[in-house]
Amino acid sequence: MSAHVFASGSSGIAAVLDLMAWFLAAVILLVAVLFHRLPEITRPDIFFAVTVNPDFRASGDARHVLGQFRIALWIQTAIAVAIVFAGTAAGSTWVPLAGIFWQAAGVLAAFLRARSGTLPHAAAPTGQREAELAPRSAGGVSFGLLQAGPFAILAACAAYLKANWKRIPERFPVHWGADGRPNGWATRSPSGVYGPLVTGAIIIALLVVLSYAILILTRHVRASGAAAGAESRFRQAQLGVLVVVEYFVATMLAGVPLLALRQQASQMPSVAPVIVGALVLVVGIFAVLIYTGQGGARLARAEGPGAAQSAVVGDRTPDRCWKAGMFYVNPDDPAILVEKRFGIGYTLNFGHPAAWILTGALLLVAVLSAVIAGLSTHAH
C-alpha cells in the first residue's frame, strides 16, 4: 500500500508541500544525528573504515578527524535543510528532494576525507587468527517456525480471500492520491487480489535467506572472551530485527487486499496505524542497533574496560580491499557476507561470485515486485 500519507483532503497543494518540507527536513536531521553517532558505534578498532589500535580513538589525531567530520556533516545538513525550504517556498516539488541528495553527497565527501585522515594511523596488519572448533547451529526448529510465521499470515489471508471471493468488489482501490481520492485500482482477478501477497512472499523469502546467511555464513570475528559473547548477542539482535521486518511486511501486504472487503472500499483507509507502525519499527531498529554497536562493540564495552579488546586487532579484512571504505572486494576471502566497516550489520564481499548472484537476485525481486504491482493495479 502506498497511499499518500501527507494528504489532508481539501487543504490544498501548498499545505501538502509545506508538510512534505517538514517531513523531509525531519528525515535529513534524523540522518545527520545517525551519522553523528555512527563513528562511535563501529568496532573499537575500526575508525572511519580503517583498522586502528583501539587506543587510537582517544588520541588527539582521532578527535581532530572526528571533529572535522562532524563539522562538515552539520554544515552540509544545514545547507540540505535550506534547499528543502527554499525549494518549497518557490513552489517546486523536485527541488526539496535535491536536499536529500545534497546531504548524501556531503556526508560521503566528509567520510572520505575522514578516512584519508585516518589511513596514516592504520594498525599494522596481523596474521593472527582464531576460530571456535564447533559447527554452527542453523537455529533449530523454533527458528524455522518463527521464519514460517509470515508465510502463514499471507497464506491465511489468501485462504480468507478465496472463501470470501464473491464479497470482493469487481474493482477496488489500492492507491490513494494526495487529495484522499483513489487513483490506483485493482480488479477481482487472481493477479489483482493475490498480487500483493505474492510480492510479500518474495520479499519475505529474501529476508529469510538473509537471516540464515547471517546465522551460518557470517564470520565470527572474535572467538573468545567477552567480545565473542557480545558478538553473538549482536548477531541475535540482527536476526531479531529481520524477523520483525518480515512480520511487518507480511501484515502490511496482507492488509492491502483485505481492504477491498470493507463496506466503503473507495474511501481512503486510515493510515495512522501504518505510520505509527512504521515509525515504531524504524525507531526500534535504530535503538537496537545503536545499543549493540557494530559486532556487539558497545555491549562488549559495557562489560568493562578491556572486554572489548582482544589480542587480535581489526575485523580480519584487509584495509586495502575496502573500496572507498564501503565496498569490500576480496577474491581471497571465502566469506560472502562480512561486517560493514561504517554502519551496522553486514555487507557483501564483491570479490566473491555468490555476492553478484545475490545482488542479481535482489534486483530481480525488485523488478518482479514492480511487475506484479503493475499487473495487479491500474490507474483508472
Partner: protein
C-alpha cells in the same frame, strides 16, 4: 562446556594447513575433542580463519589419513575413536623426523635468546603433560 579454540598465524613460515592440522591434533591428543564430536564444516572454518577452503580441506585430510577424522560426504567431519599406535615398532622414521623437528625448534629458541634452563624447564613441563595424556588414554 568451554569453547575449543584454535589459533594460527598467517604470517608464520609454517603453512596454514599444517598449523590447522597441528592445532586440531593437539585437541585430539589431549582428549579435548572426543570420539563422535563434530567439527565445523570446511567452509565455516575457512571463513573464520580467512583462508581458502582447500587449506582447511587439506588439514582435515591429513587428520583423516592419520585416523582421527571421518570425512564421509554429507555427514561433515567427525572425530573417530582412535587408539594410539603401539610404539617401539620397526619403523624408526617418525622418531627421526620428530628428533629433527625438535632439534630445529630448540635451535630457533636458543637463537632467539631462550636460556638452556628455560628450555629444559619447558621440555620437562611438556613431558609431564604427555605422560598425563597417555595415562588418560590408558
Amino acid at each position: 562446556m568451554t569453547a575449543k579454540l584454535i589459533e594460527i598465524d598467517l604470517s608464520s613460515e609454517v603453512p596454514a594447513y599444517a598449523q590447522i592440522a597441528g592445532e586440531i591434533r593437539a585437541l585430539l591428543v589431549t582428549s579435548e575433542l572426543r570420539a563422535g564430536d563434530p567439527l565445523p564444516t570446511v567452509r565455516q572454518l575457512a571463513v573464520d580463519l580467512t583462508v581458502h577452503h582447500n587449506t582447511v580441506a587439506q588439514a582435515y585430510r591429513i587428520l583423516a589419513d592419520e585416523g582421527w577424522l571421518d570425512l564421509r560426504r554429507g555427514r561433515g567431519a567427525r572425530v573417530l575413536p582412535r587408539s594410539r599406535p603401539a610404539g617401539g615398532g620397526g619403523d624408526k622414521k617418525p622418531h627421526a623426523t620428530f628428533r629433527q623437528q625438535l632439534r630445529r625448534l630448540l635451535a630457533k629458541a636458543a637463537a632467539e635468546g631462550m636460556s638452556p634452563e628455560a628450555l629444559a624447564h619447558q621440555l620437562k613441563l611438556h613431558a609431564r603433560d604427555v605422560r598425563g595424556w597417555l595415562k588418560g588414554e590408558a
